[in-house]
Each structure stands twice: as C-alpha cells, then as structure tokens.
C-alpha cells in the first residue's frame, strides 16, 4: 500500500499564475481533504471531496478550487497566485463511513515569487 501520494513535491510559481496539485488517496479510501500549512503554523482546512463533490469548505477564497475523479484521486487548483499562497499543501484521505482517521501525504511545497 503506497499510502497517500502527492505530486509534485516542490513547485515555484510567479504571482498571478495558476497551479494544480495532485493527490492519490490511500487504497480503499473515498474521501480527500486538502489543507494549507503556512510556515510555523498548524494546517488549515481548505475543502473536502466525497463522491466527486465538494462537501465542506474552509475559509478560503474562490481562487482555491478542486476536483475529485471517479478513482477518488483529487486535484487542488489555485488561480491568480499571491505571495501569501506560499505554503505546504497537504492532502489527507479517509473513509467516510468510519470517519475515525485521516492519513496524510508528504505534501507539496509551493513557493510563489
């Protein structure tokens, strides 16, 4: 079992650009959540996908959007990048019916210059 995998591991983008981050959940999991972790902070919930729909959203602007595919993998898209979007983006997968544990990927380090 490969666990939760994220790609790419590192990314450098320029202000105003758009970025897409990818996540494959742990085998058997059907729910994917995305978190933003700024330097020196705890992770902040962005949104959660289940059955290919956004089910819950944190306090993030519409520039942040996502998608879940039939194989449960997910993408996080950020448009019009700002310097403040620089952070570690973490993907977590879980099984909705049990709702007892989330497994995290290694994260994507996004730097906006």
């Amino acid at each position: 079992d490969a666990g939760v995998t994220q790609s790419p591991t590192h990314l450098i983008k320029t202000r105003g650009q758009q970025v897409t981050l990818r996540c494959s959940p742990k085998s058997g999991h059907d729910t994917v959540s995305w978190y933003q972790q700024a330097l020196g902070q705890g992770p902040q919930f962005i949104f959660q996908y289940y059955e290919e729909e956004e089910r819950q959203r944190g306090n993030f602007p519409d520039r942040f959007s996502g998608h879940q595919f039939p194989n449960y993998s997910s993408e996080l898209n950020v448009n019009a990048l700002l310097l403040g979007d620089s952070a570690l983006y973490l993907c977590a997968s879980s099984l909705r019916v049990t709702n007892t544990e989330a497994f995290f990927g290694q994260g994507t380090r996004l730097t906006v210059v």
Partner: protein, 116 residues
Amino acid sequence: AQSVTQLDSQVPVFEEAPVELRCNYSSSVSVYLFWYVQYPNQGLQLLLKYLSGSTLVESINGFEAEFNKSQTSFHLRKPSVHISDTAEYFCAVRSRVIQGAQKLVFGQGTRLTINP
C-alpha cells in the same frame, strides 16, 4: 465549531527527561482527538488517537495521551525522550458526527527539541 489550543509553542528538554505537551480544545459537539507528528520537510504522521473507551491511549514509540473531558484536555506525555523525538507535534479534533463536519481542526503546533 471546534478550536484547539496548544499551550506551548516550543518545548526544549534534555535527552532521557520526561516531557508533556499540552492541548486544550473547545467544541459544541462530541469529538475524536488526535496527536500528529511532523518531522522536518515531511507530512503529518498519526501518533495516537482517542475514539472511545479508556481515556489513556498509547503509541508504539512510548508516547501516551489522556483524555480529560471535564478539563477538555488531551495532553501528550513521554516518560523518557530521545533525540529522534525532535519534531513538531500537532493536536487535532474532529467531529464524531459522520454526516457532519469531517474536517480536522489543528492547534498551532509545539516544537519539541531534544538536547543531548
């Protein structure tokens, strides 16, 4: 809504000394409780969790945490730390309601530094 407060941003201790990392939470609904560990430049790894039953939960590497409902706390302890325990530790909560909010709410983290 839930919130988590980790009372210490940094905790320096000497190797083989005991340590306690403090966590308090606030929630209007019943929650699950978690401790995650993050090593430098890595993602989060689950250290231990409280779901139900015994209020004292243990990890395989010697950490333990005790759920105290009256004080809404979930402090993490280890009787003797090792250099390899140097990391950032995050306390988190999640609603127990399956159809409700499934997001994890994290504290700000505690940086544990072990000195030789």
